[in-house]
Subunit: 473 residues, 2 copies
């Protein structure tokens, strides 16, 4: 049991020092407040060490090699697996967070190593020591991989994203449970590094929340990359032969898949189990995500005025690093304004982009880049929708980018408002094509105005012109 | 002398079948009018055969190879000069315009091969045959390379963009007169194909209209690619030893440069010299560009109502394919509305993006992508400007794209309006980063709204977040 002496008081304590916690702390600090972050593992968090950064570090040499292979006049490119892994190691600094810790010191954010736990209003215990926040505690503890209750699964010691993004070994055979972004990206990586990869997805399409045409393009292309993609396939049991032997996944309706490693990538669970939420009345939903107001204030928290906030994956609104950082900027500014009795910026009061549908890129081959709502999501919101679909090679820039370029573009238009509400691009090097959609959707720029936003010839961005032409402008 | 029989009458005659003429004709046709295009050389025009398309076709394998070389884990890529030239040949279809002609036939645009010349109101003579337009004639004759009056230059039979983009031979030494986009892009191409390249630019910076920091990055990088970049160097005379011998450029203040070929890329002249402009009173400026109203109506043209329009390079407003096509869409729609007594769409009445500063990409290594106004242009317009400059590697996506990524980003903000008026990006693979700027500038999206347009992590587009953070949002 901790003693009841408060060891130190800051204006704000942030629990969790991933990108979201770092951003929240940084905005608070910029408002002139003192702030500490509590981190039990690595400063920089899941994204920097076990997710976006290492997976993109792994994917980029693979995609750059293919881009070179696909252009006549560029010859001889090949993937060097040892180089790919070394690059990844450099990006995760061999799992050292020295760089991120140095940044905290440099900007003046204190670091508390250990497990943070709420023990009452504005009070946080870190490994037995008690600390206090004058104004606010911001919870940014994120999520962990969901390992479902499947007979034998835990005993089979499956990989999660953590092992798959940090492994120095390439298994001969890799089975992947799940078909979302993590599963698909890592399927591309391990297939390119030489594994025989099988993807086991229980739904009938990959990338559940994406447009179906995008998911189909990724499935088809994974198959061309030698990946065995099983859709509508339910894993019913898992077993492993001895400590390091073959792992076998039994499928419903018969059949089994044997592999050397099994990666589980079927979802996430919020890191709220041991946060002391009950000591302050904080509410979670049935999956354990913290319930928050539009201002990221945790519902149910004790006290006369808001002091407990939850930002990023842990509130379950949208599980994407950039959207978590966006929430963190808004929340950090709001906490700063409230603590210093400055007016609350409308911007920080309502991070309204959360309601527009998050932009996202899946760095598969082809890439899938989307923003706003899918057609189905827009229809479900009761929007009178018109959809425009065209092949990417309608823009000369695509064909110049790669021989035989294949891809597809879709925009979803709100016919009553005359504005864009969604866009999806599938193809090589489409990752950077989506930001204009994000700007247009967020800025509610009328299509008639977008007509004047002339894309450069012969950039791939000219697909925007083709989409508007096809729409009839 | 032509006989005075009108051989055929269309609703509209378009003189010049480059991309601009094609687009103008296509919009007119879509309005339900009959239309013919007159072309004396190749349907598809300068851009398709001698400019943007072949130069990008040449550049892409070079840039893709370097992109591969710059990522650890991708090995062995090299430029194959024969492959690069073969790719270019495929893109220009061996200088056959069969494909473009097929498209004209397919959509129902008639083609008149020959030299078009105005011979009175709505009358066009093509190689001695007389044709008439019921409603309008649209001049889209573009420009030709400027070969300046330099002693000995013409006699030295220099290359222009036409020879440089179509040559099957790589000269051992190539001297380039001029330092604009064409000069810089072709310097990259020929240096990569094995030429010793010298760029002779009379100004103190390359890429005259670009931000100085961008021009400096390109100069520095050309030098690293082995190009001898001479700034502030005035060519005073040129001579060639015999029909195929060495060509020598004399420089003011002494010095000379010898090469096997000399490329002249110092500017353009409008193709208006033999258009019969005097027969209809059409006005040109002192450089020969057709003078037009905001609706692209040629100033001074005879007649009670507008019938003569000039669109694209030939009106001198902005010499970029995509901006010419934009004018063509507006003008074609306007002509269509006027001819069919439909209301004139405000969009086609005022292509106002022409006033915002054109987006442009220079496909050098690094690329330069810009939209709107440079800092200097904004100040010259009396805008109260704030400029934000950051290195591209502030976005993690840049470092993931290439090891040791180098580049720079600038936004130019109108402090009174709270909106973006310009943006420039320099670096590898920045070509597609500029369209969000074009949308924001065109849509006059407030910076406070752009704050909600969350870029995807870890895309290079996250540079937008870094720019807004640096601005203070």
């Amino acid at each position: 049991m901790a003693d009841s002496t408060v060891h130190h008081t800051w204006d704000v304590i942030v629990i969790g020092a991933g990108p979201v916690g770092e951003n929240a702390a940084d905005r608070v600090r910029k408002a002139g407040l003192t702030v500490a972050v509590v981190e039990k593992h690595l400063v920089g968090g899941e994204c920097s060490f076990y997710a976006c950064s290492p997976s993109k570090a792994l994917l980029r040499p693979i995609l750059a090699t293919r881009a070179s292979e696909r252009v006549q006049g560029s010859e001889g490119a090949r993937v060097d697996p040892a180089g790919v892994l070394a690059r990844r190691d450099a990006w995760i600094s061999g799992l050292s967070d020295e760089g991120a810790v140095g940044w905290l010191e440099h900007v003046g954010i204190d670091l508390l190593r250990g497990t943070g736990r709420l023990v009452g209003e504005r009070r946080v215990e870190v490994d037995g020591r008690l600390f206090e926040a004058r104004h606010a505690v911001i919870v940014c503890t994120g999520t962990s991989p969901l390992v479902p209750d499947l007979p034998g699964l835990r005993e089979a010691r499956p990989w999660t994203n953590r092992e798959a993004t940090t492994s120095r070994r390439v298994p001969d055979r890799l089975a992947i449970l799940g078909g979302g972004a993590v599963a698909c990206e890592l399927a591309v990586v391990y297939a390119a590094l030489g594994s025989m990869v099988t993807v086991i997805e229980q739904e009938e399409q990959l990338l559940g929340r994406s447009e179906a045409f995008a998911a189909e393009a990724v499935a088809e292309s994974l198959r061309r990359q030698g990946v065995d993609v099983r859709l509508g396939a339910e894993a019913t049991a898992v077993s492993r032969l001895g400590p390091t032997g073959e792992v076998t996944v039994e499928l419903g309706g018969g059949g089994r898949i044997s592999a050397d490693e099994l990666l589980v990538a079927v979802g996430r669970v919020p890191n709220t189990a041991d946060l002391g939420l009950e000591t302050v009345g904080a509410k979670t939903d049935d999956r354990g995500y913290l319930q928050v107001s539009e201002q990221m204030e945790v519902e149910g928290a004790t006290g006369d005025r808001p002091w407990l906030y939850a930002v990023g994956d842990v509130n379950g609104i949208v599980l994407l690093t950039h959207m978590g950082k966006y929430q963190a900027r808004a929340c950090g500014d709001l906490v700063g304004a409230r603590a210093t009795d400055r007016p609350e910026d409308p911007r920080s009061m309502t991070p309204w982009a959360l309601d527009l549908g998050a932009p996202q890129v899946v760095y598969t081959d082809p890439e899938v880049a989307s923003a706003g709502l899918t057609e189905q999501q827009a229809r479900e919101r009761g929007i009178r929708v018109r959809v425009v679909d065209i092949p990417m090679d309608k823009a000369a820039g695509s064909g110049l980018q790669a021989e035989g370029y294949q891809g597809q573009a879709r925009i979803v238009v709100d016919e009553d408002a005359g504005t864009l509400v969604g866009a999806t691009f599938v193809g090589q090097d489409v990752a950077e094509l989506v930001q204009p959609a994000t700007v247009a959707i967020t800025g509610r720029v009328p299509l008639a105005t977008l007509w004047h936003a002339v894309p450069v010839f012969p950039a791939m961005s000219e697909i925007w012109l083709r989409l508007l032409e096809e729409y009839g402008l």
